[in-house]
């Protein structure tokens, strides 16, 4: 048993460094459902099986065809004529013995007709190359059952993903470029007294050159406050003046030339960001604090909302309008002792704040009749902001409209445009009618060039492997984000254009 655990740690080492042991545990407890094991689906699943997803079930009523084998790494020509779910499960299962693979030889429509609750057991359902009608039926069942639904599609040189989930909360968002939370504009008591323990003027040369820049900025800020009515340097001119003030503090040798004090240079360099006022509450966080789920705490309230409410209590009662201190500081030029002591001041404050939030959680739980065990709750303030990217590029939006139009074509003609060579020309005008009716129905004043209509007929609903693989990689990581609740998933429609190697995300 210990041997298997050790070898799993070795095997998964490179990914454990990204989502940690707790993330891995979530992954290993998950059971995902893939509908349709075409190339897009098997590539996606491969990227879940390799990192050790707990189990998967493929639902597919199709038989393997010659063209299926041609673009799919997980179907062999020996399986032509056999059920596609079974054939794909075999070769996917073989990738990783830690994972358990299952298959159902039925179409999703059959399951929806006879046993829609089949889908309730899954952590996540992924639908690949589904006709619109099936998507809508499935979407509604999964929405009501609170099962996240990821729709994926490769159509010629276009990749498409849509995430359908009522609510997804992320606690560990791992923001890439978060600003530091240093509280220099309003130092908490412990930080204040720590700063006071330094006497820059009275220090020896060695100590002076190894004092952390945070202390230096804090000290000179005190000076500045006394001369500027406790106002932070606001504009470029004032910030430059403040930097000069610090520069004057650099020790000079007997000849009067400034010494090489890198810590002071660091202080000057960091003035611009260090003096940002401690952000009280961003509008995103405000929305969450005023949300219904946050206000009405019941015994059914999920952990995320309990903690959010507790943080809100903290902000209103204990934090003087501020979120709990984050507790981390960047590395900087300093001797070990000074750095560690300063780091501990921030860390201890963060732990203190976290335990106050913890007490609020306990109180909330008690108020709804639940008991809680001891647990630590260190929230990063950035994780409370909701992810919402509106990146609309004309090129990709047109592709989205074309995808909706070919769906319309399929509804009318029970096939996709241009599948056979002889169809390409005649389907162009038919597809154009679908495009126009779509635009009319949604009152969209968009001009879709004929070139795109021709191109989508040319695609013949092909699923070239490289495009399917790109989509499979993208989609798999989004699936992992949903399962591990780490990192922020896309919201909610993604288009990949392999012709220009560009992508866009829309919120629709």
């Amino acid at each position: 048993m210990a041997a298997t655990k050790a070898s799993k740690e070795q095997k998964y080492d490179r990914q454990l460094r990204l989502w940690g042991d707790h993330g891995q545990e979530e992954l290993e407890n998950a059971h995902v459902c893939l509908i349709n094991s075409t190339a897009s689906g098997t590539e996606l699943l491969k990227n879940l099986v390799l990192p050790g997803i707990g189990s998967f079930t493929i639902v597919d009523g199709h038989k393997v065809s010659g063209e299926d084998v041609g673009n799919n790494f997980f179907l062999s020509n020996h399986s032509i004529g056999r059920n596609r779910a079974q054939a794909a499960t075999e070769l996917l299962q073989e990738l990783n013995t830690d994972v358990s693979g299952n298959f159902v030889e039925e179409s999703p429509d059959q399951l929806l007709d006879n046993d829609p609750e089949f889908f309730h057991r899954f952590t996540l359902v992924i639908g690949v190359q589904l006709p619109e009608s099936t998507c809508l039926r499935l979407g509604s069942v999964l929405w009501n059952a609170n099962v996240p639904f990821l729709v994926c599609r490769t159509y010629g040189l276009v990749g498409y993903m849509r995430l359908v989930v009522k609510e997804h909360t992320v606690i560990e968002s791992h923001p890439d470029n978060a600003l530091e939370d240093l509280r220099l504009d309003q130092p908490f008591a412990e930080l204040k007294s720590h700063i006071q323990s330094y006497d820059l003027e009275g220090m020896g040369k060695k100590d002076h050159g190894h004092t952390p820049w945070i202390i230096i900025v804090a000290k000179y800020l005190e000076k500045w406050f006394s001369e500027h009515n406790s106002q932070l340097p606001k504009n470029y001119k004032e910030k430059e003046a403040f930097k000069q003030l610090i520069r004057q503090g650099i020790l000079k040798n007997e000849k009067g030339t400034p010494e090489d004090e890198e810590n002071f240079e660091e202080a000057i360099k960091n003035v611009n960001t260090a003096l940002n006022p401690t952000k009280v509450i961003s509008s995103g966080v405000d929305d969450i604090f005023n949300g219904e789920q946050c206000n009405d705490i019941t015994s059914q309230t999920p952990a995320f909302w309990l903690m959010t409410r507790a943080v809100r209590e903290f902000v209103q009662n204990d934090g003087s309008g501020n979120l709990p201190v984050r507790g981390s500081i960047p590395d900087m030029i300093a001797d070990s002792e000074k750095f560690i002591n300063l780091q501990n001041v921030y860390r201890e404050k963060a732990m203190q704040d976290a335990s106050v939030v913890s007490k609020h959680v306990e109180a909330l739980l008690q108020s709804v009749g639940k008991v809680c065990g001891p647990y630590s709750c260190i929230l990063r303030c950035c994780s409370l902001s909701s992810a919402c990217s509106m990146d609309s590029a004309d090129g990709e939006m047109v592709l989205y409209l074309m995808l909706r139009s070919v769906d319309r074509f399929y509804q009318q003609h029970s096939r996709y445009p241009g599948v056979y060579n002889y169809q390409v020309e005649e389907d162009i005008s038919k597809l154009k009618l679908c495009v126009n009716s779509l635009l009319q129905e949604y009152s969209l004043n968009v001009n879709v060039k004929d070139d795109y209509i021709h191109e989508f007929c040319r695609y013949g609903a092909a699923e070239p492997h490289t495009v399917a693989s790109f989509l499979g990689g993208s989609a798999a990581q989004e699936a992992i984000k949903i399962i591990t609740r780490q990192f922020v998933p896309f919201n909610n429609t993604f288009i990949y254009n392999a012709m220009s190697q560009t992508t866009a995300t829309f919120q629709l």
Binding site: T57, T466, G472, T502
Partner: protein, 461 residues
């Protein structure tokens, strides 16, 4: 989990895989109906967005299958994906070069390898797997370094695609393809151009780029995009550690050579768990001295081996983008990526596509002799430092030679111990002392390029 407790209904059977089920695809080279349907659309049909050179034809597929030769550099995270992508896009004549053997930590993403393959050469196992799974595909493996081959090897390929984990190797490959270019009367012969598709990944980030050597930005044109690796300052490691990483580096760089824990002359083997265990324990002791917390075995290993986190998904995305470009170029089906795509899926999915520009005085592709400006009293060491530290050059261990009094003289060379010893005194001599003249040409060789780089030395007053 399979519902083994539920009665088996006739309509639906959730079946768990049993060992009896067939796993391998078989080894026949036979074709079957419809095999290439998914790519034929792009080869046989005209379209509004195709490359101006494109001509729809039923023969294009034959070119891909029978004639087109692709070289894949690297059979790791990107390499495995690339081989699969190319094989399923109609390419059959593929060579793959990789000097590494398989490690357990590769298995979370390098899907052509299994536990039983650990220790075997990546190139060999990858080729076997692809050839077995994709009938008719002929991947030829080379368990070698890229530097083991010369122009005659590289010249045979139509397109070269790299999935490397080293900037040095990339630059070398870049230099090799530049050296193959043929100029007639100062005009580049297009048939001597071998397109280079380059992909790189790190955690959730990656990039893919298309290079037409001699025509578009090369690797060295955009060297500043790869900032030099930051190593911790020695004084921090030796006397003022603040982070757990500082403690590990102290043990690796200072304590190990001093204590020689596994015997005289036994260097630290980053792959030996016993060695790592020793470093881990000593790092904890060091950290305790300075009240630093956070040393774990995983962190220790990460610092010693300079581990970069990696997942299957990012490699899949970047390799797929690269393979799409190979297909576009080989078939002329579309205008290729022009010329650099960046990808990041930490927060949603983000890509940025732009045209990297050629650098006018690029040390690799501009054919313009590089300038060096030094005072005649400057020491040779200063020249060496410039060659390694300058952001556009970033050489690793340059060897400097000059023609003095009609003879080729090596001024300094690091890579051969005896020559290094002999030429070391030159480092503290001034350029004037060494007999160098204003306007002198210096030839510099380095691991970052297969050809020597010529510099023109100009004296400043």
């Amino acid at each position: 989990m399979a519902d083994t407790d539920e009665p088996e209904k006739k309509r639906r059977r959730v079946v768990e895989l049993t060992e009896k089920m067939v796993v391998d695809g078989g080894r026949d080279g036979g074709e079957w109906d419809g095999r290439w349907n998914h790519i034929n659309m792009f080869l046989e049909r005209p379209g509004p967005f195709t490359h101006p050179d494109f001509e729809p034809s039923t023969e294009s597929l034959q070119f891909l299958l029978d004639t087109c030769k692709i070289l894949v550099i690297g059979a790791g995270g990107l390499g495995c994906e690339l081989l699969k992508d190319l094989a399923l896009s109609g390419f059959r004549h593929i060579h793959v070069v990789d000097m590494d053997t398989i490690d357990v930590s590769n298995l979370n993403r390098q899907f052509l390898f299994r536990l039983k393959d650990v220790g075997r050469p990546k190139a060999d196992i990858a080729a076997d797997f692809i050839n077995g799974r994709i009938p008719g595909c002929n991947v030829v493996p080379h368990f070698k370094k890229i530097q083991d081959f010369d122009e005659s090897f590289y010249r045979q390929f139509h397109i070269i695609v790299c999935g490397l984990d080293s900037i040095i190797a990339r630059r070398w490959m870049n230099g090799m393809l530049l050296s193959l270019l043929v100029y007639e009367d100062g005009v580049l012969d297009p048939s001597s151009i071998i397109p280079l598709i380059d992909g790189g990944t790190e955690g959730f980030k990656g990039n893919a780029r298309v290079i037409f050597p001699g025509m578009t930005a090369c690797i060295d044109c955009t060297l500043e995009l790869y900032p030099p690796q930051i190593n911790f300052p020695m004084c921090t490691i030796a006397s003022m550690p603040r982070l757990p990483e500082h403690c590990v580096e102290y043990v690796r760089m200072l304590l190990w050579p001093k204590e020689k824990p596994f015997g005289d002359g036994v260097g630290l083997d980053a792959d030996d768990p016993e060695h790592i265990q020793w470093v881990y324990q000593k790092s904890q002791e060091r950290a305790a001295e300075f009240s630093i917390t956070g040393i774990t075995y995983r962190l220790t290993q990460g610092v010693v081996k300079r581990i970069i986190p990696a997942v299957a998904s990012t490699n899949a995305v970047i390799a797929a983008a690269c393979a799409t470009e190979v297909f576009k170029i080989a078939s002329s089906a579309y205008i290729p990526l022009n010329n650099y795509m960046v990808f990041n899926d930490v927060d949603g999915l983000y890509t940025y596509t732009f045209e990297a520009e050629r650098k006018e005085n690029c040390s690799a592709c501009s054919q313009v002799p590089q300038d060096l400006y030094f005072s005649p009293s400057a020491k040779l060491q200063e020249v060496l430092d410039y060659l390694t530290e300058n952001a556009s050059l970033q050489m690793k261990s340059p060897a400097i030679t000059a023609t003095l009094e009609g003879k080729n003289k090596t001024l300094y060379l690091q890579t051969v111990a005896s020559i290094e010893q002999r030429t070391r005194p030159n480092l503290s001599k001034s350029l004037k002392e060494l007999g160098l003249l204003d306007g002198q040409e210096l030839a510099v060789a380095d691991v970052t390029t297969p050809q020597t780089v010529l510099f023109k030395l100009s004296f400043t007053s």
